[in-house]
């Protein structure tokens, strides 16, 4: 036990060193300090992995860190250790990726700062998960927010980055306000700071705590309608940071939600239904918004919203089934939610890192300018393909397994007694199926337009494969994606999840073995029966001798059927402005035509709130600065008279 705590402490010291070293050598031209620091980061992650696996297997570990009269209490149980495994796996591959990725920034200061801040960000997330009392949790939660804010603002000289950074900062602080609100209630109830089971709460207070916790964590997790910071912050930040934010940070919010959910007493049915509906809406709208995006990082950001929705579906099912006392089904859904959390962390970081390699070589995020990269960057293409298959939930990869579990729980809807709940579950199930299929559409588009066909721009023509470290980093994640998928059945057996096996989860190892067998049989058969001659020639272009890239299908063309079918959600508007030389409109002078999509949540939710706040503050501003002294005195005079009258006459 002391041995494990020592490993944890050594890892933390390595983390701290990897934060400090680049700061000391911030202006030195050599890359040695950065590499050294990243190696320390990687070692620390390996240490944490070792530590948390042993915690997961054996027991909870408690310890404290005293910091000049201030005590941080840590407790690492199986839930926390699961999330530490998740954090350190992603951090490990991001660390390897960063060894060459951080070198492409222009100044030495920026390179060193990126490395140092990355370590700081990862460390703060580890501490959030390890925290055992309200104050430590809030303290490290804020450290996590601030360090990620600084990383979003990394390219601070670009105007869109400034907007993204401020947007992110405001949202993250609103999230903290809701958390503090809930924490105050919890604190007054238990009269202490440690996480303990909350008993004897009255139903309205419990619901109030639940709601403010849900909003607080939902903002950080990017649940619709609190999602707007994600598509702004991800394109603005460096790719390694997007991978960390999308893969890990939003999962820390899920961790927080689960941690406090377990502390709350007897849950009510509508909590579960609320989470289920929030999950369904996030999943479906997330993928529908993703389909129209052509900025690769923003597309991936919307897919994070979708997958958070799927995780919430699992959590919602857990809450509903545990309300109705179906212990087994509840456990399976919770396990599915956690497994999807891990899976999403793996394939989303993989996608962000490989997309980062593409953006790094292409100098643009617009997929319409890419194309044909599979021949220029074959390894990156393969990595992205593995990520795309995983996120599209296709067998035998890991994304499939967790979605399969959620599907299976959904299909058990008939055990519930209430018909209305059954219908809600059924509707949610069909929208979930739609979500998962649309994700496949979106990734056929993303992979097809970025990597296949012929290059659509000069830059795509001359793109080159990235350095080794930028391949090895994501490759670790890709291998895990395949491994967790194919060996899922065996993994469940090892960790003793007997319910899963009784539940009829298919053994994907046998399925894949048979698939490989049938595949090789087909291949051999075709070698003997079929004609083995092949010829490389032109693409058929309706009689045109040579085709060029402008004839290829574009990303907007690809998503057009879906855009038309979901017209009522996008509400596309055609703006057509023309001006003419004459009054009859015969001689065309100039004009502009564009299609705009509605930004529903921004126009109808965010902007009205911000307008209302600025109106109130303009009135306050007027009262504070524009009004003379006399009206103030007069107002005070009347106020005192009214108060006196109230106290003297009415109350008596």
């Amino acid at each position: 036990m002391i041995f494990y705590v020592m490993i944890f402490q050594v890892s933390i010291i390595l983390f701290v060193l990897s934060i400090i070293i680049p700061l000391i050598f911030i202006n030195v031209k050599k890359s040695l300090s950065r590499t050294l620091s990243l190696v320390m980061l990687i070692l620390a992650c390996v240490g944490l992995l070792f530590f948390s696996f042993s915690v997961l297997m054996y027991e909870t570990i408690n310890f404290q860190i005293l910091l000049s009269g201030f005590t941080f209490k840590f407790s690492i149980d199986s839930l926390a250790s699961f999330f530490i495994i998740l954090i350190s796996l992603i951090a490990l591959s991001v660390g390897i990726y960063s060894i060459s990725y951080c070198e492409h920034f222009e100044s030495e200061i920026k390179k060193n700062l990126l490395v140092s801040l990355t370590s700081f960000f990862i460390l703060s997330m580890v501490f959030v998960v390890a925290s055992q009392d309200l104050i430590s949790f809030l303290f490290f939660w804020e450290l996590m927010s601030i360090s990620s804010f600084m990383l979003v603002m990394f390219d601070y000289d670009k105007p869109e980055t400034k907007k993204a950074g401020i947007f992110y900062f405001v949202m993250t602080q609103i999230s903290t306000i809701f958390l503090i609100f809930a924490f105050v209630f919890i604190y007054t109830h238990i009269n202490g700071l440690e996480f303990t089971q909350l008993e004897g709460l009255s139903a309205p207070v419990a619901s109030l705590i639940f709601l403010s916790l849900t909003v607080g964590f939902a903002i950080k997790a990017g649940v619709i309608p609190f999602h707007k910071w994600l598509p702004y912050a991800h394109p603005a930040s460096p790719s390694s940071i997007s991978a960390l934010m999308s893969g890990v940070m939003i999962k820390v919010a899920i961790y927080g939600f689960l941690r406090f959910l377990f502390l709350l007493p007897e849950q009510q049915l509508w909590w579960g239904i609320l989470i289920l509906i929030a999950g369904t809406v996030s999943a479906l709208l997330g993928v529908i918004y993703a389909l129209k995006e052509h900025d690769i990082k923003r597309l991936l950001a919307y897919h994070s919203i979708e997958n958070i929705g799927i995780i919430l579906l699992g959590v919602g099912l857990y809450m509903v089934f545990s309300f109705y006392q179906f212990g087994d089904l509840a456990m399976i859904s919770l396990f599915a939610a956690l497994f999807h959390t891990l899976n999403h962390a793996l394939f989303k970081s993989l996608l962000f890192l490989s997309a980062g390699s593409v953006v790094h070589k292409m100098h643009t995020k617009n997929i319409e300018e890419m194309g044909g990269l599979i021949k220029k960057m074959p390894y990156t293409a393969l990595l992205f393909l593995i990520g795309a298959i995983s996120i599209s939930a296709l067998p035998p990869f890991n994304g499939f397994v967790s979605e399969l579990m959620i599907f299976q729980v959904f299909l058990k809807f008939s055990v519930l007694s209430s018909p209305i709940i059954k219908i809600i579950l059924l509707l949610s199930l069909s929208l979930f199926a739609l979500t998962s299929a649309l994700a496949a559409v979106c990734f056929v588009k993303a992979f097809g337009i970025i990597f296949l066909a012929s290059p659509r721009s000069e830059e795509a023509e001359h793109a080159k494969e990235v350095n080794l470290s930028m391949i090895i980093g994501p490759a670790i994640l890709a291998i895990l994606c395949i491994f967790l998928g194919i060996f899922s059945y065996q993994i469940f057996q090892v960790i003793g999840l007997k319910i899963g096996i009784r539940f009829g989860l298919p053994n994907l190892l046998i399925v894949s073995t048979i698939a490989v067998f049938l595949g090789s049989l087909t291949y051999i058969l075709m070698k003997f029966v079929g004609n083995n001659k092949s010829r490389v020639t032109e693409t058929w272009g309706c009689g045109i001798n040579s085709q060029n890239a402008s004839m290829e299908y574009t990303a907007s063309g690809f998503s057009q059927p879906v855009t038309t079918i979901f017209k009522s959600i996008y509400q596309p508007k055609l703006v057509n402005q023309k001006s003419f030389y004459d009054q009859e409109g015969t001689f065309f002078k100039e004009g502009e035509a564009k299609v705009t999509m509605i930004k529903f949540f921004e126009e109808y939710l965010y902007m009205p709130i911000s307008r209302a706040i600025s109106q109130v503050s303009s009135i306050l501003y007027y009262l504070q600065n524009k009004v003379e002294l006399y009206p103030y005195i007069l107002a005070n005079f009347f106020a005192i008279i009214v108060l006196l009258l109230y106290l003297g006459v009415i109350i008596r």
Binding site: A393, F400, S414, L429, G504, G530, N531, K533, Y553, P561
Partner: protein, 310 residues
């Protein structure tokens, strides 16, 4: 396990050698209704054989995706044929028969073929991929609700058990409401009229055929064969859930051969029905197709509502 091995051999043989027949049968029925003689009943076998003997052409633009996609698709179809009991129900297996796994292996095939459609950089391929993926996405809610109704009625998620309990009990009257949604799913998944037209080439209405336009030689043969297999499996699911008569549960040779004959009759009747249906309907405009899906979604939803509320 022995039991399962027999099942695998029987099913693989059946789908490999029987599946192209149904394509010809539907064509023949349509031809007769249109007053033509139509192609021979073994024409689809000849087509596959002819394609196998031709050389494969690849575009300059294409990558390994185009070369491996047909194999993945075909292997997927072979794998799927181990999921659906056609003439013989083996003992339960926790590996095969899972409905969700079935649906997603189907999706995997589409995913790789859609990628190969984009690979050559031809406009037709891209258009086909886009349309095929969009349609397969918006039919998905219907599929899942239809199967949810089936799972609800038979209380199992495994095709083996579903067909077995369908064979043993005959009192699922409401299930017949699902027939129309099932047929719409069948039509969509096997790219038939009114959703898609398998007979046109180079027309702006086509979906599946546009996507595989750049494929040739044995790759094309594999893709066509694989579509035929999927079509037969869907027929198998439908006829065996609704009319489970004749499926054998024992390894008896006599019972097995009777089962094969009965299955052959049932599925041929279904194929003839599809041919007659297709002759009486025109291809829908692309953006009208979601309405068709909406109808089938509501029908299947109502089925579940009735079962839940009664």
């Amino acid at each position: 396990m022995n039991n399962f091995l027999l099942f695998a051999v029987v099913n693989l043989t059946l789908v490999l050698f029987l599946s192209p027949l149904y394509i010809s049968v539907i064509k023949k029925v349509k031809a007769i209704i249109q007053g033509r003689r139509g192609p021979s009943i073994i024409q689809s076998y000849r087509n596959i054989f002819k394609l196998l003997k031709k050389e494969s052409l690849y575009s300059h633009n294409s990558s390994f995706i185009m070369r491996v996609a047909p194999y993945i698709d075909f292997t997927g179809s072979l794998l799927l044929s181990l999921f659906v009991p056609l003439v013989f129900i083996p003992n339960n297996s926790n590996v095969f028969g899972n409905i969700i796994l079935f649906l997603y292996i189907l999706m995997l095939g589409k995913f790789v073929i859609a990628l190969s459609g984009l690979d050559a950089g031809s406009t037709f391929g891209g258009m086909g991929s886009s349309r095929e993926m969009s349609l397969s996405a918006i039919i998905e809610p219907t599929i899942i609700v239809v199967f949810a109704a089936v799972v609800f009625s038979f209380d199992s998620i495994n095709f083996f058990e579903i067909i077995k309990s369908s064979l043993l009990s005959q009192n699922h009257i409401f299930l017949w409401l699902l027939l129309i949604p099932f047929i719409i799913i069948f039509i969509t998944e096997s790219s038939r009229i009114p959703v898609d037209n398998p007979e046109t080439h180079l027309e702006l209405t086509m979906i599946h055929e546009a996507m595989i336009l750049e494929q040739s030689g044995k790759n094309l043969a594999l893709i066509e064969w694989s579509s035929a297999i999927k079509q037969l499996l869907l027929i198998g699911i439908i006829v065996n859930i609704f009319i489970p008569i004749g499926i054998s549960t024992s390894m008896n040779i006599l019972a097995l051969s009777i089962a094969v004959i009965i299955f052959f009759v049932k599925s041929l009747l279904f194929a003839i029905g599809i041919g007659i249906f297709e002759s009486n309907i025109a291809k829908l405009r692309f953006f009208r197709i979601p309405n068709l899906f909406a109808i089938s979604y509501f029908l299947s939803f109502i089925t579940i509502l009735i079962e839940v509320l009664l």
